[in-house]
Symmetry: C2
Subunit: 703 residues, 2 copies
């Protein structure tokens, strides 16, 4: 139990770090009046959007909560609500910091690159630590309460149910937040670019463009709030389901189960501390290499975490070579060393995924350069090469994940895979910090432009922002990579639940069973359909932005002349409405599909085949989703940076034909990387968790 | 045995139809001297390319034949060579007809639309009937020889080995032909457009463009020869493996096995006759609706086939309600009615796939119109909407296939699924006819333009060509749809082989086994990697076209002035070399991957897991390949027709900004729909067949 309390302590530490660093960030100068005015408009828009988004989500949430209350009982309902509220909170707080840090980063970038970097990264770190800290607190406190106060055994069914419902709450909110925020940010971005850069011929972030505030609001509600909610969900699902899988798949004494189940919590706690230490190592060296500075912080965290995880494992299990427990067939068993090795594999996977993503999206390597070169021959070849890179970028991450699955499974079975996923996610604080820094610098650039700050300030924020494209892609690759590892664990939980709830039903999960193929195909379809919805939504919402801006230009010639102020709020409002309308149907797709597939196949071929198809659906969605998500997020990042590479003076630089082609690629990449691609991760999780909940509901005779 | 002889007769009839109709086509006027000169250059280029391509493939083929001879014996080697030679022949003959029909179609279009349609469609029908006829002859004669002359039992291991090797030969050639031809056609097309339309500002098919002959050559070697080789392969694999699956999966007397195994052959034969009849129904009605005319032929064929299949089944099995045989567990059994129902489902699937493809790629429906509308706001939104449609277009075909799998499996188990695939493919003669007509009209348009024929000729060929975009997409959706049905059958063959060859190895194909997940992920990766190779190859080869053309323009100002003739042959030569170089590595990917996966996983985790991972790989490749292929081929067709829709005068028509954006989308769609997408089908087949051959080689102790 002490380990759990230590974990809770670490979670609180993360929150304290957040409060303390917020103070630091907020005490920085917010710049001159004009800057504050612009920042105020962004804040207002972001708050208005998030307020409306959460109201809509709350309605869905309450309906789902009522269904859960009716089918699964009070404990599950409360856990669901905790997950939902905290996921929303993670997004809300992150957004609240970033809309204040943006203007302060612009102001700090007046003086030096280091100043801008420090401010932006600190604000990212606040979001990062809150995501990890709140996630850890939610799981650890719930577990502690149920074991210590309610006196349940650690592997009691009620604890499993509570952790699953907690994960569901987090996932449900995060898919809405990821998708709604993603549609908002890209509709505003694409719309602003189309009507501003392309039609009116004014530069990005020009204050005469009525969509410019909406574009900056988007960075905050999509790349910051949506991302934070998503990573909170990933954290809770991964750690929570590692614990659930121990409870379900390990045969051991209650004390041993307690030991194993508290290990993920302590590892999470330790890695919060190492992440906090890591943030202080983010400093520019003599070469002013921004990526290098961020990497310094990241690698310090990885190194310290490796050491910390060793001691955490030793602390929890005592001797590192004693065998604890066994698998369900009474074979195997787990030593501290074995679990430690698996967690090291998780850290190595993190490092490799970061490196591969940088290779595919960084301006120094072949992929981005090849897209930039292809831009010389026009829009078409830019897009062809970008699609080729996006397809190719799936190969190395898949191989890394495959090798990790084989290695961890050889060392410690499914539980080993789960622990690798846990150590991967334990670094979430640091990874989110790297990501959340991006939208802040993006906004800072926008504010610098709109407030008419000197060119060198904009150069500094641009340099900070280019790195942000890579770090954003990193987080998405990382989240989907963890989903692939978690898929095996989730499937293990599904089959164990099935055996326990329905001992009389023999389910054939063999590939020989056509219903398994049916499930795989239907699962594989989901990311495609979901992606289609996301892309279409952005196109449609961007269209309404274009129309609104055109109308504003038409009705008031003073806007283009710079004599009258455009109605920013009206554009924000239009994007808000469009994004919220568009997010609902696709978000419900992964919730309703598993239920529909189960009932339809059961009606046609009996319950055993219904369960088989549903199980296969869970794997189909990851087998296809992994590729859809990675190709979209890496490809999109590569397109964006190919444009930046040309803007840096290659192939004719800004304004050249190559640049125009690269702008097209960037536009295409936008909904790829920021709307459809990243939302695949929570979609996969939801599908899996809904299946687990469905089993429970069916077993309770509630459906 | 009589049924087999009837099937052979039908195969011969198809060949006679081909010879007879070739005469008709060749007796038409080949136009004036200028037209003949242009057509001559295209013929020369196509022959030169195909000659070189086949030389390269022959080298690979001989190496593989030696390996097969060493590991699997003489019969397999001979069968492999028959499959390989006939697949090549199908492509070669088809190409030879189309390079002669193109100029005659242009000439016929001078007089009337019906004249052009008749000529182009007849030449397509020759290719179609030869594909089906040669395919049927290859399987039926081989089977007849082994049973009747060699006196083997119909389900003798040697017959199974021979049919598998036949399929392998066809597949190996067709992947090279599909990919090499696909790279050639799109490199020439994209290159010609970039340097002609975009840079020099001259129209498509302008004779001053040195790449214009290469572009027209490409239609013949890619869309005609490559497609024919691919569909030949699909035909042989599907019918052949239906027979193999009967031999492996049905428990019955030798006479009953003989009955069941000859049914697919007779169905193939009957449908050749109905397809030939159908071709005579392709006539324009009063409304001059070209698609309607083609559909008339298609639906007549479908209707007659339904009747023909009923009588064929009755002829082979005698009473339609007598139960024949049983499955391996001695359960079930097959009635004529059950098999007939399954084959009807196959016909319905064909009809639905055709209809869905037309919906997604035809100019009358929402998808194409939405892309055209998105073109108004620029290149970026055109591509975004095109990608959205390409993702969405996977949904309905997947649902159709899923329902077909469930229905046929409920009716007659795996054998039912196989028979559905057989009736689907039995219509190949008609479907290929619809497709092969496309490149002929495309060429006819080019020749009309280059030879300076009156505008109304070009209008007629353009109208014929627009329909070709849809029929081309139809064939590809059809081929990949059959692959999805065949996947289950192939997997059944794999597991049965495994049990027979390695009775002592227990392989766990359950989704619980992590090596199954590993196999699924690696299989799912293949279409992505393969797609990346294909797209990059086109980009690179198109780049060399652009450079060559630029150099020709630079060195001889007379070319643009129209006073000197460009060096067409040099450009053809450059594309030829590039395409052949680029096709080799990706084509070997599906050959070598299954072997590598088996040996690596066996080394790491033992043979049972090696077999499990290999089996899962086979399903992973279809689960992901189905979506990659459909999204690419439908999306590409939609982009192409969105451009045509705008050229028809919508959204500003030719020369408008919307048109420019639509040209970009068309360029992106080119390698999508004609290079990477269609090559996924033979790639899936190869992966599966290599796995079957690997099992045989391992069992013979040869590896």
């Amino acid at each position: 139990m002490t380990s759990v309390l230590i974990a809770i302590g670490c979670g609180l530490l993360a929150v304290i770090y957040g409060l303390f660093t917020s103070r630091q960030v907020l005490s920085a100068s917010p710049g001159d009046e004009k800057m504050q005015e612009i920042a105020g408009a962004i804040q207002e828009g972001a708050k208005a959007y998030l307020g409306r988004q959460y109201t809509t989500i709350a309605i869905v949430g309450v309906i789902v909560a009522v269904i859960i209350a009716a089918t699964l009982g009070l404990l599950s309902t409360v856990s669901f609500l905790i997950g939902a509220v905290l996921s929303g909170a993670a997004g809300y707080i992150g957004m609240n910091i970033s809309v204040r840090a943006n203007v302060r980063t612009a102001e700090a970038a007046r003086t030096s690159l280091q100043g801008g970097l420090t401010l932006a990264f600190r604000s990212g770190a606040i979001t990062g630590m809150l995501v990890a800290g709140l996630g850890l607190l939610a799981i650890a406190v719930l577990f502690w309460y149920l074991v210590h106060i309610s006196g349940l055994a650690p592997n009691d069914r009620q604890i499993i149910a509570a952790l699953t419902a907690l994960a569901f709450g987090a996932s449900l909110i995060s898919i809405f937040a990821r998708l709604g925020g993603g549609i908002f940010t890209k509709a505003a971005d694409v719309g602003a670019d189309l009507v501003g850069k392309v039609e009116a011929g004014i530069p990005e972030d020009d204050p005469r463009n009525p969509a410019v505030i909406a574009d900056n609001v988007g960075d905050n509600v999509g790349d910051c709030a949506g991302m934070a909610a998503d990573l909170f969900e990933t954290y809770v699902v991964t750690l929570g389901l590692t614990m659930v899988s121990i409870a379900l798949l390990v045969k051991a004494s209650s004390a041993e189960i307690m030991q194993l189940m508290s290990l993920p919590l302590l590892v999470g706690g330790v890695c919060i501390i190492t992440s906090i230490i890591g943030t202080y190592f983010v400093r520019l060296g003599g070469s002013n290499n921004i990526m290098g500075a961020l990497y310094k912080g990241f690698w310090v965290t990885v190194g310290l975490s490796a050491i910390g995880i060793y001691f955490a494992t030793q602390y929890v299990l005592g001797d590192m070579n004693t065998v604890v427990g066994a698998d369900l067939e009474g074979k195997g068993g787990y030593t501290g060393m074995a679990l430690f090795y698996c967690m090291m594999i998780g850290l190595i996977v993190t490092g490799l995924l970061v490196w591969i993503t940088e290779y595919y999206t960084g301006t120094n390597y072949r992929p981005v350069k090849s897209i930039a070169r292809a831009s010389v021959t026009g829009h078409g070849t830019n897009v062809i090469q970008g699609l080729a890179i996006s397809l190719e970028s799936t190969a190395l991450p898949t191989l890394v994940i495959v090798v990790a699955v084989i290695a961890t499974f050889q060392v410690a079975g499914i539980i080993g895979v789960a622990f690798a996923a846990t150590s991967l996610l334990a670094l979430a604080g640091m990874v989110v910090a790297l990501d959340a820094y991006g939208p802040v610098t993006d906004n800072a650039g926008g504010i610098a432009e709109m407030a008419g700050l000197p060119d060198d300030v904009r150069h500094r924020t641009d340099a900070l922002d280019a790195v942000g494209n890579t770090t954003k892609a990193v987080t998405k690759g990382y989240a989907i990579g963890s989903a692939a590892l978690a898929a095996l664990v989730l499937f293990g939980a599904y089959t164990t639940d099935l055996r326990e709830y329905f001992p009389s039903v023999t389910v054939d999960f063999s590939l020989n069973n056509p219903y398994v193929i049916v499930g795989l195909l239907l699962g594989a379809l989901l990311p495609y359909l979901f992606g289609a919805f996301g892309m279409t939504a952005v196109g449609r919402a961007a269209g309404s932005v274009v129309e609104d801006v055109r109308e504003q230009f038409r009705n008031d010639a003073g806007i283009m002349a710079g004599t009258s102020r455009p109605n920013y709020a009206r554009t924000v409002d239009i994007v808000t409405k469009a994004a919220i309308k568009e997010m609902i149907i696709p978000s419900l797709l992964p919730v309703l599909t598993p239920i529909a597939v189960y009932f339809i196949i059961t009606a046609v071929a009996g319950q055993a085949e219904g369960f088989a198809a549903l199980g296969a659906l869970l794997l189909g969605v990851i087998v296809s989703g992994l590729f859809v998500a990675i190709s979209m997020t890496s490809g999109g990042g590569a397109w964006d940076n190919a444009k930046k590479y040309i803007e840096d003076g290659h192939h004719g630089g800004k304004g050249s034909d190559a640049h125009k082609a690269a702008v097209t690629g960037d536009t295409v990449g936008d909904p790829y990387k920021d709307t459809a691609g990243p939302a695949v991760n929570p979609m996969i999780k939801i599908t899996n968790i809904v299946a687990l909940l469905l089993l429970a509901a069916l077993a309770h005779g509630a459906m």
